[in-house]
């Protein structure tokens, strides 16, 4: 009797345990992991709040936000993806470079036509060549490269700001004049990035592609711009301390010098607006100015970052729908002070800073003036190979490791070598 009772008790316990296990598995939330890099709390706090809100409203989905440094997106994510690992969604800037890993979420989003209508021109930047229909994600923010000036220094020097149509040479000349009159150590500073060099190079006539549309980096336009950058470094218009502090294709931004009012003219882009509004504050007035001109154009480079999917399932689709909705995007863009990648978005920017407002207007106004070559370059799957070749070889020439002639030869060789490694042959 006793033995039977024990057997019964064990059976009941086992069945209850199994049922609990089955129900736990059935009702467990689906995890969606997002790898996110942000420009500090300015971007991380709003996205974290949106994710919390989503999780609260969707108990069947558990979105995990992994906030990582930008380097992890550039260097770690590609290796994770190559090894068949990686997140479900990531915020990416090498938009075409990772396209072989993107998943098509078309079947899982509520309204695919919304993505076409809202992010149309950018969707092709993510797609593989020949693909015109897949939906992989959406543009989180759009960016435009362009210069900023320390307006206070211009006023102190009694030098007028130049208007639209001013050339690079003219901007360099007035920056030197302001620096001399105000005792500012660095007339000009640029982000150390091939992407930043490319807009001005296109303005000088660089084409980046041959007649077949294949990468052909070095031409007279690129030579003219890179020679100018080389000369500015040798003459002290640009400080070797900025680009010299790293090697290879490593990115370096001169924000510390800019924030300390040690730079008259800084070539960067629209993503700095929120940061400057926070970090510069009332220390000095800063303005974004129209992209300086060369003989061929007066253009910056378009760009931006996108939230792209590496796994396609209903949960990922739902998260994408939520984050790309007008309401969420408008709230996010309004807080981070960026240019929207959404084509039809009214943004209420949450700032009283007149410098930030002016800069947002300037960069938004610059979008229609972006040259077609710049759009083609940004959309090209191998653009990073070209950007990196420019910056690493120009960096070597500037510090005296090679001549500019050798640097140009090496730039072309680097591109050719990497394309061979990637595509064979």
């Amino acid at each position: 009797m006793n033995f039977k009772f024990i057997l019964k008790a064990i059976s009941v316990a086992l069945v209850s345990f199994s049922l609990t296990l089955i129900s736990a598995v059935s009702f467990a939330a689906t995890d969606v992991r997002i790898m996110w890099y942000g420009d500090g709390d300015k971007e991380n706090v709003p996205i974290a709040a949106q994710i919390d809100e989503f999780n609260a409203a969707n108990p069947d989905i558990n979105v995990i936000l992994d906030i990582v440094p930008y380097d992890a997106i550039m260097n770690t994510l590609p290796i994770q993806l190559a090894a068949g690992e990686g997140p479900d969604i990531a915020r990416v800037t090498d938009l075409g470079g990772l396209n072989k890993y993107y998943a098509d979420i078309t079947p899982y989003v509520a309204d695919p036509s919304y993505y076409e209508k809202s992010f149309g021109p950018f969707l092709n930047w993510y797609r593989k060549p020949g693909d015109t229909t897949s939906i992989h994600g959406f543009h989180s923010t759009m960016t435009v490269t362009g210069p900023y000036v320390n307006k206070t220094l211009f006023e102190q020097a009694g030098v007028d700001l130049l208007g639209p149509g001013a050339t690079w040479e003219e901007w360099a000349a007035v920056s030197i004049e302001v620096a001399e009159k105000t005792g500012t150590p660095i007339p000009m500073a640029w982000d150390r990035s091939g992407h930043r060099v490319s807009g001005p190079a296109i303005s000088m006539g660089a084409k980046y592609f041959d007649s077949n549309g294949d990468p052909k980096l070095v031409d007279d336009g690129l030579k003219a711009m890179t020679q100018m950058l080389y000369d500015w470094h040798q003459a002290g218009t640009m400080s070797k301390d900025l680009w010299g502090s790293v090697s290879g294709s490593k990115y370096h931004a001169p924000n510390d010098w800019w924030n300390a009012a040690e730079v008259v003219f800084m070539m960067s882009g629209s993503w700095q607006i929120g940061r400057f509004a926070n970090e510069v504050g009332d220390d000095f007035d800063w303005w974004a100015v129209p992209a300086p001109c060369g003989p061929a154009a007066c253009t910056g480079m378009p760009g931006g970052n996108a939230l792209l999917a590496f796994n396609a399932n209903p949960a990922v689709g739902k998260v994408m729908d939520y984050l790309s909705s007008k309401e969420q995007l408008s709230s996010f863009i309004g807080q981070v002070l960026a240019i929207p990648g959404h084509l039809d978005l009214q943004v209420d920017y949450q700032t009283d800073d007149p410098n930030a407002k002016h800069a947002l207007n300037t960069f938004a106004g610059a979008v229609p003036t972006i040259d077609q070559v710049a759009f083609d370059l940004q959309a090209h799957v191998d653009n990073r190979i070209m950007f990196n070749a420019i910056i690493s070889r120009l960096g070597q020439a500037i510090v005296g490791e090679m001549t500019m002639e050798e640097a140009w030869t090496r730039m072309d060789e680097d591109v050719e070598k990497q394309l061979k490694e990637k595509y064979g042959g």
């Binding site: 550039m74 260097n75 301390d241 290879g248 990073r384 190979i385 950007f387 990196n388 050798e406 490694e421």
Partner: protein, 343 residues
């Protein structure tokens, strides 16, 4: 009373012994049949097996994988998707018109890394030995606060290389602490980290600062092992201090200095992290060593093609250099042991 105390002690020891006895019996249950099958003589291999499995998993297999990667090409990570076998990576690495001029090599970054590494190792190791001996000799004397100073010289060894890099970056930057001092005395700021002619010197200095304590300790141990009666005899003969140092101290320190030389050389060739934090390998490539080339080529290409094959080939070359240095160390340490046995 004493007897009761002893018996209580034995009782508690027995109780404490129960889990160990249980464990040993459990192991014996497994080992006994194995020993029956393979014999007592082969049992050491069984005891070595767990360690060998881990060694194989984390050293031998990656080494083999690295070798196969070096014989493959493409930008895919998985072997199945890579072109194999090919000597393309080695051909590319050694394709030079003149090995003395990196600009004539296809992989000029690799050769710049090679020359920078040679320069770095020669000066870093040479100066490190010099300063280690100097410091050890001073710390071996009966000075006030000797224990304190010994600790001070050893502390940097305990720091993470990233911390070392960051600390010295704050000190040596153009707007850093050191330049502030120079400026306060009316001098001009120096670009310690961004002027090619200063950057390598700064990197060598920081590396010596960070690692000298360890080597000083080895030399100090050598100094303390020298029999004091040799010094007493020399003093009685009226030998000068310089002569004592060069004729007694230095020759008897030689085995230790050899160890320091080889260990410092191996470490020098492998240097990466503190330089990567301090200068990023720049300006240009003036402080970029081989390991940084491998890292950048394979893993940190910032959107360019991640060339795992080329990085693997370069690390095979580095492996050969390290193997040579290790064999040298083994040869000399065995030579030293056999001499001791002869004595």
């Amino acid at each position: 009373m004493e007897n009761i105390r002893n018996q209580t002690k034995i009782f508690f020891l027995r109780i404490l012994n129960i889990p160990f006895a249980f464990l040993m019996h459990a192991i014996d249950l497994i080992m006994w049949p194995i020993q029956k099958i393979i014999g007592v003589r082969n049992m050491p291999y069984i005891f070595l097996l767990p360690n060998l499995i881990f060694f194989g998993l984390f050293v031998i297999i990656p080494l083999g994988a690295n070798f196969f990667f070096s014989l493959s090409s493409g930008d895919e990570l998985l072997f199945a998707e890579r072109e194999l076998p090919t000597t393309k990576q080695y051909d590319q690495l050694f394709d030079c018109e003149s090995y003395l001029n990196p600009n004539t090599c296809t992989e000029d970054f690799f050769w710049r890394g090679v020359y920078n590494t040679i320069f770095f190792v020669v000066f870093q190791v040479g100066l490190m030995i010099f300063f280690s001996v100097l410091t050890a000799v001073i710390l071996n004397k009966k000075i006030i606060g000797r224990g304190f100073f010994r600790s001070v010289f050893f502390f940097p060894v305990l720091l993470s290389p990233v911390v070392v890099g960051l600390i010295w970056q704050w000190i040596l930057l153009k707007n850093g602490a050191f330049n502030a001092i120079i400026e306060s005395y009316g001098g001009d700021k120096i670009s310690f980290l961004t002027d090619p002619s200063w950057a390598m010197a700064s990197v060598i200095f920081v590396s010596i600062w960070a690692h000298m304590g360890f080597y000083t300790l080895i030399v100090l141990a050598g100094l303390q092992a020298i029999p004091p009666n040799l010094y007493e005899a020399a003093e009685m003969d009226g030998t000068s201090r310089e002569r004592i140092f060069f004729r007694i101290t230095l020759p008897l320190l030689m085995p230790n200095l050899l160890v320091v030389f080889i260990l410092a050389s191996i470490k020098g060739v492998q240097t990466f992290d503190e330089i990567y934090v301090l200068t990023g390998g720049g300006p240009g490539t003036s402080t970029s060593l081989i390991v940084q080339y491998i890292f950048t080529t394979g893993f940190a290409s910032s959107g360019s093609v991640q060339n795992f094959g080329l990085a693997a080939a370069a690390s095979m070359v580095l492996g050969v250099v390290l193997l040579f240095l290790t064999l040298m160390q083994l040869y000399f340490s065995r030579n030293k042991e056999s001499k001791h046995q002869e004595i």
